[in-house]
């Protein structure tokens, strides 16, 4: 079975100013029955509200038997993930291609 995948690109930041917009977009993809590849290459800051969006999206995805993959996590964001221990909770890849090939295999 071929997995249905949609890629969503994050902006420079994920914080309390834009979290609602990002959350709505990701939920819309999941609602459609697609797996989400979240391209975070451009993103260099994720606030605690932003982390909550990732967590919530992951939980919604799990409830639908779908996956949320994080791709291209920057050093700054990786620090945040390490501090909170979230790094062990999410499936992460360094590029979109790597992610897609990993999924298909």
């Amino acid at each position: 079975m071929i997995m249905k995948i949609k890629t969503y690109q994050l902006g420079k930041e994920l914080d309390s100013f834009n979290y609602q917009q990002v959350q709505d977009a990701i939920l819309a993809i999941l609602e459609n029955g697609d797996n989400v590849v979240l391209d975070m290459t451009a993103c260099n800051y994720v606030s605690s509200t932003g982390l909550r969006v990732l967590l919530y999206s992951k939980k919604v995805a799990a409830s639908k038997d779908l996956m949320l993959y994080l791709v291209g996590i920057s050093e700054e964001v990786q620090d945040i993930m390490n501090v909170t221990g979230f790094d062990s909770f999410f499936d992460a890849f360094s590029t979109v291609e790597e992610c897609l090939s990993a999924i298909n295999n």
Binding site: L51, T84, G85, F89
Partner: protein, 644 residues
């Protein structure tokens, strides 16, 4: 117009409207008057032309009649003259009778050709003339009065028929300005034997020009050669020639008139006379004589009556305008009077009286619509003010509630630490600053026997939602540590509660620790929180400070996964070392230049072995200075503890 009046025009709509209407009327009427004037002038000119021609025609008729009586008188005596042509004495009587029969004739001669009567010599011309009411007779021809060389004689001789001479001064004869009717006397062979003449004075002809025309008009009569026969204007010599005068004057109009008169035409010309100014010349030929007559008339004279009527009209027009402007001002003023009242009402509304009374409008026009709009505005203002009051009240209520919530939240945090018998070697101090009224940060500590339990946490997000989760977590911590001292169980228990019904995936980064106040043994569990720092003197150099982060690897935050297994770390907290706990509001405090406060600055302020209270107060001050005017964007929570 005075200045105040000018200002009132600028500020008064009524004045402006009436000024505009009056100006429009002035422009329209002036235009109409201009066009009307053109046509009236044109028709007056035509009329005056006809009138002048009538006058000149009458002059011509009268003159012709008078001259014909002279011609008839001469012709009537011709048979008599022929019968007595060989009786010179009888000829004297005939000339005398000619004068007796016709009072117009002032002199009459029968001028014979040279040597007709050899015994009379070369010249023979019996001549009768008037002198002091009597008729005298004499022989006129002589070497001094050589009529044979005179115009009238020679012209008659060459024309072979009768004609009227040009005006001339009869020097040695009548001694007057005159014209002469000449009739040739012929013998049976058709040869001219004599010229019979009848003289009339130019003064006599002038009487015919004494016409009833305008006061300043003058008339003249010129012969076919242009000599003035008669004229009514002083300053022109009767012997002058009109055509030559015209040429000398250099006025093209006058030259044209002279030419047309000479050609026997009639007409009218405008002429700018040096004496009269703008004038009109009407001219007409006298067919019988081949002469021409003319009337010169001042333009102002011609249009005198018209100008008088126009002046009356102008005065009426101005009076009407004044009346119109007064009436307009009054009526417009009345029409727009409600505007003033609307203005007053608007001012009153602006001052806060929303129920200001509007003027009553009976009409159904724009004023009525203004009234409607105004009423709608008033009603809408009233309802909006009411709404605003309610919104303000609601806002005040929410603010009040938030204030109360803040107080409640603050009361959840531990009060200032008072050392007990068991914990007199403990120094601990906590501090919290929220970005909003309420926040998601918290810290807590309590001493149970010889053990100190402490924690610090940060709920994801801010404001009221975070505050609710914070309250739940801190309460759970308090409850659990009362009966449980195993950190793993404590943390997993709080995590379960947090995960319970956590639909919105709120999570809490949380650090919990317990330290034995006697041994300094420290157990800690980090659920995704910023790693606390242990600050201590360097063993090698007492002025150097070493920092150690706790622990290497954090667990997942609370509320993420219900069945997370939390790992507890253990280590010794050296005597005198400070354990410093903080939330990300410290390291991520941002100044106006978008710089982060950062861990390096934090470490700098941790040095020096200060008491926990001083340490935290200095740290807070440093952050406040760093942030400056920029608003605090996240909650800031600090906790420091030290075992002496």
């Amino acid at each position: 117009m005075k200045l105040p009046q000018l200002l009132s025009i600028r500020e008064s709509l009524a004045s402006r409207i009436s000024v505009w209407i009056v100006l429009t009327v002035v422009v329209i009427l002036t235009g109409t008057a201009y066009v009307g004037n053109h046509y009236v002038m044109k028709s007056i000119k035509l009329e005056e032309n006809v009138k002048a021609f009538n006058v000149l025609g009458v002059v011509g008729q009268h003159l012709k009649a008078a001259l014909i009586t002279v011609e008839v008188a001469v012709r009537n005596h011709m048979d008599d003259i022929r019968e007595n042509v060989n009786n010179p004495d009888a000829l004297y009587r005939i000339t005398q009778r000619m004068l007796e029969d016709n009072p117009v004739i002032v002199g009459s001669a029968i001028a014979f050709r040279p040597n007709y009567f050899p015994e009379q010599g070369e010249w023979f011309s019996p001549y009768s003339y008037r002198e002091a009411n009597t008729i005298k007779t004499k022989q006129l021809g002589s070497a001094e009065y050589d009529y044979l060389k005179m115009d009238w004689y020679q012209t008659t001789d060459s024309l072979k028929h009768d004609y009227w001479s040009e005006p001339y001064f009869d020097k040695g004869g009548g001694e007057m300005l005159m014209i002469t009717y000449c009739y040739p006397l012929t013998d049976e062979h058709g040869n001219m034997t004599a010229v019979v003449t009848a003289d009339i004075l130019l003064d006599y002809i002038t009487e015919f020009l004494d016409i009833d025309y305008f006061n300043h008009a003058y008339a003249c009569m010129v012969s076919r050669k242009g000599t003035f026969i008669s004229q009514t204007e002083e300053g022109i010599d009767l012997e002058d020639n009109f055509f030559e005068l015209a040429k000398e004057s250099g006025h093209p109009e006058l030259i044209e008139v002279a030419q047309e008169m000479m050609d026997g035409k009639s007409g009218m010309k405008e002429w700018k006379s040096p004496v009269l100014g703008d004038s009109y010349i009407f001219f007409m030929p006298l067919q019988h004589m081949g002469w021409s007559t003319a009337i010169v008339c001042e333009a102002s004279e011609l249009f005198k009556n018209y100008y008088r009527s126009a002046l009356v009209l102008l005065v009426l027009f101005i009076c009407m305008l004044v009346l119109l402007s007064l009436l307009l001002r009054r009526s417009v003023h009345r029409l727009i009077a409600p505007l003033t009242k609307f203005t007053q009402a608007a001012d009153e509304v602006a001052r806060g009286n929303l129920q200001a009374i509007l003027p009553t409008i009976h009409s159904k026009d724009e004023m009525h619509r203004l009234h409607q709009s105004f009423s709608i505005m008033q009603r809408s203002l009233v309802s909006q003010m009411e709404e605003l009051k309610q919104v303000n009240a609601a806002k005040g209520r929410i603010e009040g509630e938030l204030k109360a919530a803040k107080d409640i939240q603050l009361s959840m945090l531990p009060k200032a630490y008072v050392p007990t018998k068991e914990s007199k070697n403990l120094d601990i101090y906590g501090f919290q600053l929220t970005a909003h009224e309420v926040g998601g940060d918290f810290y807590d500590y309590l001493v149970c026997g010889e053990k100190l339990f402490f924690c610090i946490g940060d709920v994801s997000g801010k404001g009221v939602p975070a505050a609710l989760v914070m309250a739940k977590t801190i309460t759970q911590f308090r409850n659990v540590v009362r009966y449980e001292d195993d950190l793993k169980i404590i943390t997993e228990s709080i995590n379960k509660t947090t995960c319970d019904g956590n639909e919105t995936a709120m999570f809490v980064t949380f650090f919990v620790g317990v330290v034995d106040l006697h041994t300094g043994r420290l157990q800690s569990c980090n659920a995704g929180h910023n790693k606390p720092l242990i600050v201590n003197n360097s063993a090698a150099d007492s002025s150097a400070w070493v920092f150690e982060e706790l622990p290497d690897k954090p667990n997942l935050p609370l509320g993420v996964m219900e069945d997370t297994s939390y790992v507890v770390h253990e280590k010794d907290l050296p005597i005198g070392a400070t354990l410093f706990l903080y939330t990300d509001g410290l390291t991520e405090a941002i100044n106006a230049e978008r710089e982060l406060f950062g861990l390096d600055r934090v470490k700098e302020h941790l040095k020096g072995g200060k008491s926990c209270k001083v340490l935290i107060e200095e740290m807070t001050q440093a952050v406040n200075q760093f942030v400056g005017e920029a608003p605090l964007h996240d909650d800031l929570t600090l906790l420091a503890l030290k075992i002496e």
